[in-house]
Amino acid sequence: MAEEKKFYLTEEGLERIRKEYESLKELRLAKTRRESPEILYSEDLNPEYLAFREDINFLGSKIIEFENIIKNAELIRPPKKEKQNIIDLGATVLVEINGEIDEFRLVGTLEADPSNRKISNESPIGQALLGKRVGETVVIKTPIVNHACKITKIKYNNIGKL
């Protein structure tokens, strides 16, 4: 059986997902209670009923999606002290790449936000940097862009926060 996909999240991120999940469930319940039985049990495919069903289906699929995330969530935790010189999820890295100095944090895809220096572990740079140490130069190869990336600093701060 194929292994289920893991979702790497910070504590804060997981908490946010849980809250969203709960509010979606409440919304579905409220919506179901609010709707009149005439529309619910109508045999005619009236537009109001179709819209209602569409909303319920959408909420249902979102709830399943969130359940799957919560079930397969793996919290990002700081590595042991002796392993803090190796890049893992949650690490903030300082790199030199293609003539630029850049600093960002490696996060799971759900929390990625490059405009706020949070880069996905599944991005080409994220994949290339995981497991590497300070001083190493990694060559990131893609079908179009190939860049050498030198790691100059690794730190693990506020790892549970988004």
């Binding site: 790449i97 293609n98 003539g99 630029e100 100095i101 850049d102 600093e103 960002f104 990625a112 490059p114 405009s115 706020n116 220096r117 880069i119 996905s120 599944e122 991005s123 080409p124 740079i125 994220g126 990131i140 893609t142 079908p143 179009i144 862009v145 190939n146 860049h147």
Partner: protein, 452 residues
């Protein structure tokens, strides 16, 4: 109407009062075009800013005694004795500027946004005394207004002799909040990195960079002639350093350029099989990002001494490097997962199509020649390095090689802008500026109206 380009935009979201205000701004913009037309003359490198018989040396000599000669806001004329004298724009156009200034005052009375009123009143005054700094500072220090409005002598491209004199222009539009937010994200993702700077260069640090995407209703003056799809202001590097800069993307103009130029060029110069891999939507997004990245880059490549050092060659390097650095930065965005490979390819394709567009534009309007020279340098560079295969005028880009070229070209352009001398820059242009690289595509381009 000459010197004016109008775009259809939906104004139904405006209140009645706002509609009146909007009309006042459009009326002011319309009156700017005749002033621009009096400045424009592409038969002379100095346009109508200097006497046609005055040599560069004579003007420079006169400017040493009277700096107003090379002020951005004066015409240079001869007095009865034949001596060069400077006539300020606000005196030369006193009669024409008065009603424009009045429209701005009336619009200010109608506005419920105090900052916008303040800006309009200050700008109304600037037009009458040529002191634009105060109104520019207000514009730079405030958040984007609901109405996007610029008026005055701004761009220096008409002055191919000294790149000093500002030509009149105006635009009026609305802020597109949704697209502005998207553009903001790309800008922030780019600005996380710090570029290493060449030692000995006088790099200007731009304190902040505002961004807005506009639904433009009217272009008047130079901007209507050049049909910009984006801009980054102010041009004064000192103001930029102190108050930051603001970039504007013009959706209406971009849509028009994309449909009229970029897309037809794509269909004309690229292999038919290759074309099938990209939808019109992919390419439009590529074109939008191309100009967005270009304008962001303008704020990253300012050197305090570059204009004085490179003189009339400055705009060639400034514009070309903004395109090249923008694309180079895309590489990092791609590695960070901000965009996928297809999106990156679309940006590169649209850059090539834009190069062709500048060449075609320059055939009819020599004032855009510095853009065309920049475009031809890039195109020759790509071809020489094998980044584009060409057989019978049909090209098939090698994206990996294109990126290597972009990096190499970026390194060279950084050098010229940061520390290069005028002579070195001139030699570089000489090496890569043969327009044959475009002309050989002429048979494929005959369907495009500009070549007819």
């Amino acid at each position: 109407m000459r010197g004016i380009k109008k775009f259809k935009i939906d104004t139904k979201e405006l209140s009645q009062k706002e509609k009146v205000l909007f009309k006042k701004l459009i009326s002011a913009a319309e009156l700017i075009a005749p002033l621009y037309l009096k400045q424009k003359n592409n038969k002379h490198p100095g346009a109508n800013f200097y006497p046609y018989d005055a040599t560069k040396e004579e003007i420079e000599r006169a400017a040493r005694k009277n700096p107003a000669i090379l002020s951005s806001y004066t015409f240079v004329e001869r007095d009865k004795a034949g001596k060069l004298i400077a006539i300020p724009y606000h005196l030369k156009f006193k009669k024409e500027l008065k009603p424009i200034s009045e429209f701005l005052e009336e619009a200010a009375d109608l506005s419920e946004d105090k900052n916008f009123s303040l800006y309009l009143r200050s700008r109304a005054k600037s037009l009458l005394d040529d002191n634009y700094e105060k109104s520019e500072i207000i514009w730079l220090k405030t958040k984007p207004f609901k109405f996007s409005f610029i008026i005055g002598p701004i761009e220096r491209y008409l002055d191919r002799l000294f790149f000093k004199k500002c030509a009149y222009q105006s635009w009026v539009g609305f802020l597109d909040e949704k697209k502005t937010k998207e553009a903001e994200k790309i800008k922030n993702a780019i600005l996380t990195g710090r570029r290493k700077i060449l030692s000995g260069s006088e790099k200007a640090e731009i304190s902040k960079l505002g961004i807005q995407v506009d639904r433009t209703a009217i272009f008047s003056g130079l901007i209507a002639d050049f049909m910009f799809t984006g801009t980054n202001l102010p041009n004064d590097v000192k103001l930029m350093e102190k108050y930051g800069s603001k970039l504007t993307i013009f959706e209406s103009s971009l849509e028009s350029k994309f449909k009229g130029d970029h897309l037809p060029i794509f269909k004309a110069v690229f292999d038919k099989k290759f074309q099938k891999s990209y939808s019109e939507e992919d390419l439009y997004k590529g074109s939008l990002r191309c100009i967005l990245l270009h304008e962001i880059s303008h704020s990253l490549i300012r050197y305090r001494d570059a204009e004085e050092r490179l003189k009339d060659l400055f705009p060639v390097f400034d514009e070309l490097y903004a395109y090249i650095l923008g694309i180079k930065n895309c590489g990092i965005l791609f590695l960070k997962g901000v965009m996928n490979q297809k999106e990156l390819e679309a940006i590169l394709i649209m850059h090539i199509c834009r190069n062709f567009t500048w060449w075609l534009d320059s055939i009819k309007n020599p004032d855009v020649k510095h853009y065309a020279i920049g475009a031809v340098i890039a195109q020759n560079f790509f071809l020489k390095e094998g980044a584009m295969r060409e057989k019978g005028g049909i090209s098939w880009p090698n994206f990996t090689k294109l990126f290597i070229c972009i990096n190499e070209l970026s390194r060279l352009l950084e050098y010229y802008l940061a520390v290069g001398s005028y002579e070195e820059a001139k030699e570089f242009i000489g090496e890569y500026s043969s327009f044959n690289v475009f002309k050989r595509f002429s048979p494929q381009l005959t369907k495009i109206s500009k070549l007819k």
